[in-house]
């Protein structure tokens, strides 16, 4: 059985350091298995957040050899025997302990997003939607809220001051999903521009690169939102038309 040296961050908000653990690794193991083995045999109090261990709940986000990933979906055979592997908490959020961070920012932002306002149903009381009209939104609904996109986003990773008026990629896809939802009637333009701060995104696509669900965050959500903002707020023709014609959606 090959053995690996795992360099795991141990510490809390006051500080900490990487500690080495030597662990035997069996075929098929993922980083989260190795962390669990360290807990069971060497460091019972090693703090880690996890639930499903199948890439579906988005709890076990970490920075592995500096790269933001889900620990449960990172196979150990990705690494060469003999090379140490570092496991650190996601740096975009305040530390609680060891690999666990305070992600409450995301829950605050979630609550600020104006929710779905649904149009009246068909006469039979139900709704009709065509598959091709919901394909794009279903892509956004794949989000498992691992917050890796929030973690790598340059706008907030090293700029605490931007957190107030920037929702981050996760909530930009949430907003895009609501915007493109066939049954929604609410115009969130002002919110998207001012509160979610879509203009701050400079399209480096780091969020898209780390998304474990392979959602095209930048291309399919953020760029369309930016284009709509440009139309709504900066295109004089659209601006004039809006003065005279009712918009598709009701203003938030």
């Amino acid at each position: 059985m090959p053995a690996f040296t795992m360099q795991v961050f141990r510490g809390d908000a006051r500080g900490g350091d990487f500690k080495d653990y030597r662990v035997e690794v069996e075929p098929g193991m993922v980083v989260l298995d190795v962390i669990h083995r360290i807990q069971a045999t060497q460091a019972p109090d090693l703090a880690v957040r996890w639930n499903c261990k199948a890439g579906k709940c988005g709890s076990c986000s970490a920075e592995i050899n500096g790269k933001p990933r889900l620990m449960c979906m990172t196979r150990m055979d990705l690494f060469t025997e003999g090379e140490p592997i570092s496991v650190a908490p996601i740096r975009g959020f305040p530390s609680i302990r060891d690999l666990v961070t305070d992600v409450s920012y995301n829950y605050v932002k979630a609550k600020q997003v104006p929710p779905l306002r649904i149009k009246p149903p068909e006469p039979d009381g139900t709704y009709r939607m065509m598959q091709e009209d919901i394909d794009r939104v279903q892509e956004f609904h794949k989000c498992i809220e691992c917050f890796l996109c929030q973690d790598v986003c340059h706008v907030i990773r090293d700029h605490e001051e931007n957190k107030r008026a920037f929702a981050g990629p996760r909530f930009l896809i949430k907003l895009a999903g609501l915007d493109m939802h066939p049954l929604d009637t609410l115009d969130r333009s002002a919110f998207i521009k001012d509160s979610a701060g879509v203009g701050l995104c400079n399209i480096t696509k780091c969020c898209t690169e780390v998304c474990p669900e392979h959602i095209h965050i930048t291309d399919n959500a953020i760029i369309p939102l930016k284009e709509r903002m440009a139309d709504d707020f900066f295109d004089p023709v659209v601006w004039l038309l809006r003065k005279f014609r009712s918009t598709r959606k009701e203003r938030a």
Partner: protein, 600 residues
């Protein structure tokens, strides 16, 4: 006075557990205008519901207009081998369609039919294609929809908070006590009504599809507070979990694979399920491959493929094939969809399965068969509740979802869990709120109970010389896996109970290092108490029921026995001991009985 020392939150209703049932309960209680607290063991939106794959069973009749609640009710009762609480099964079948449409009104986007309605897929034990779904990530859609609807309803959400005891004022429940994971501090919730929505007990087994959270907390909290548990012998082993590599053993492979055309094969390449059709299902199951394959498209003139028999039947069949030496290289059987459906179709219908096998096992399911075997998945047993209100035998204590017993009888059909969460989650929230509104008196939190619970939580830090909790947990899982598994007998169950006594003894001495802040060793030590309690309940009930039915198979009592079909095994804690009794099932009214006489 009790609570000066402890952080205390007061609500009309507190809901413990924030999966589908807990969220739906909290939303409904809030809609009744009462103050609601929602306590989650993990972060909001991470509960086990997120892992549900195949779909929500509801007789919408979008794909097969012949479908209706009576057919769904009949399928559910037959799937549970008639041991279900008939009234729960009836309410479930009647209300599931409205609950699904309600999710759509809250923003859920299910896959569509050609005419723009909610598409429905085939699943085991369901006569018609009945499961509303989103590819194979239906649970994710459901929990996100409830979560994003719920956060705007004025509910107070307490995340990463574990409840260790319910509090009682006389005969009533008056709240709960637990700890914050982040700080390790004790927290008290005072409430007129408590809804348990804590899910299941699957972490007591070694090979399981369940996460660390599933330690039977709600089952134990209810038992300790004096409530009855029923049907604890019935544990569902899902027939298809991953078996290779070892570290992913147990991870779920959705029944949707078979619903969408996949078949089970043994090492000889034979579709062995044709050899395992029980008499009970002969009339409705195809006995040859041609008919089975025609059934997907033409349900009127063909009978259902045996690959989609209820889960208990399929799990036993796989177990038997492996025992007979016809298993796959890693001790499972083959699940083949690659030779039966085009790659594009597989990727569109089963994207998570494609991803999961590719990433974790290095298997491309559009090119090769999967290796699968049974994995502990669900407990049918749980808190005994009144069907209409979900109230337990303790006043003010309600239960919904997996923690409640009765709805699924001895075996749950796939897809009936998500609908159960919504139907009975809503009912629990409604009736807990009505109960809280009606309650005119005052409740007093007894400082003795608070102090006792608080001391018990901190005890593992104070002991010296005891064991590491992970070792005890692992031995417990090994015991349940080998002695209280798919096939049971008296000798092994007796042995299991003996070993559980020794494990309880070890757990009483468990020792934890470090401090209280986010300490998983401590959390594991505290979870051991509920895990051992539900393990014991399950073994006691399994020893009591001397027949085989649904998710309880005894090789020393291999047949289904009609006299056992009339009783539930009931467990209750009296004077510190678990008492076991057999109590009659509620009698089904004649108009519903007639549904089973029409077509046999």
């Amino acid at each position: 006075m009790a609570n000066h020392d402890y952080e205390t939150h007061e609500h009309d209703v507190i809901v413990i557990g924030a999966g589908g049932a807990g969220l739906r309960a909290a939303i409904e209680a809030a809609a009744q205008g009462v103050s609601v607290g929602l306590v989650c063991k993990s972060l909001l939106g991470k509960a086990h519901t997120v892992m549900a794959e195949g779909g929500i069973a509801a007789a919408l009749g979008n794909v097969w207009p012949e479908d209706n609640w009576q057919v769904h009710f009949r399928d559910t009762m037959r799937g549970g081998k008639m041991l279900n609480n008939w009234r729960m099964a009836q309410l479930h079948a009647q209300e599931a369609p409205e609950r699904v449409l309600e999710l759509e009104r809250w923003g859920a986007l299910f896959d569509r039919t050609k005419d723009g309605r909610i598409l429905q897929r085939d699943f085991g034990g369901h006569r018609y294609a009945r499961l509303a779904h989103v590819g194979d990530r239906t649970g994710l859609e459901m929990i996100r929809t409830l979560q994003y609807h719920g956060i705007h309803q004025g509910i107070d959400v307490y995340m990463e908070c574990t409840i260790t005891r319910l509090l009682r004022d006389g005969e009533r429940v008056c709240g709960a006590i637990g700890y914050w994971r982040e700080t390790g501090r004790v927290v008290v919730f005072k409430a007129k009504a408590v809804v348990l929505a804590t899910g299941g007990i699957g972490k007591a087994w070694k090979v399981t599809s369940n996460s660390w959270e599933y330690t039977g907390d709600g089952h134990s909290l209810a038992l300790w507070a004096g409530a009855d548990l029923i049907d604890m012998e019935f544990v569902q082993f899902h027939p298809t979990g991953m078996v290779w590599p070892p570290s992913v053993r147990g991870i779920l492979v959705t029944e949707g694979v078979r619903g969408d055309g996949g078949t089970l094969k043994n090492s000889e390449g034979k579709r062995f399920m044709f050899n395992y059709i029980p008499d009970f299902f002969k009339g409705e199951t195809a006995d040859n491959e041609e008919e089975a394959d025609r059934w997907y498209a033409d349900k009127k003139n063909n009978r259902r493929t045996p690959d989609l028999l209820p889960r208990d039947e399929v799990a036993r069949a796989i177990n038997a094939e492996v025992k007979a030496g016809r298993g796959s290289p890693h001790g499972g059987v083959f699940l083949d969809i690659c030779t039966r459906r085009p790659a594009d179709y597989i990727k569109k219908r089963l994207p998570s399965m494609y991803h999961q096998f590719k990433e974790l096992a290095g298997v491309d399911i559009t090119q090769e068969p999967m290796e699968v075997g049974p994995t502990c998945h669900y407990v049918m047993g749980g808190v005994r509740v009144e069907a209409d209100t979900t109230q337990s035998t303790v006043r003010g204590l309600f239960a919904a979802g997996e923690v409640a017993g009765g709805m699924h009888g001895s075996n749950r059909l796939g897809g009936n869990s998500l609908s159960d969460l919504l139907v009975f989650g809503r009912r629990a929230g409604l009736h807990a709120a009505l109960y809280a509104k009606d309650f005119g008196g005052t409740l007093t939190v007894d400082s003795g109970q608070v102090e006792q619970a608080s001391r018990a939580m901190l005890a593992p830090f104070e002991r010296t010389g005891g064991e590491n909790p992970y070792a005890i947990q692992s031995d417990l899982q090994e015991t349940m896996q080998t002695l209280v598994g798919i096939i049971r007998n008296e000798r092994e169950l007796q042995e299991a109970l003996k070993r559980l006594e020794r494990l309880k003894e070890r757990a009483r001495k468990v020792h934890v290092d470090g401090h209280r802040q986010y300490n998983p060793g401590w959390h594991t030590a505290l979870d051991l108490e509920s895990l051992l309690t539900v393990a014991e309940c399950s073994a006691i009930a399994a020893l009591e029921r001397k027949e085989s039915r649904g998710g309880h198979t005894r090789d020393d009592h291999p047949y289904t026995d009609d006299t056992w079909g009339k009783v539930n095994v009931v467990l209750r804690l009296r004077d510190g001991r678990i008492q076991v009794s057999r109590e009659p099932l509620p009698e089904m009214p004649n108009d519903l009985k007639a549904l089973f006489q029409e077509r046999k």
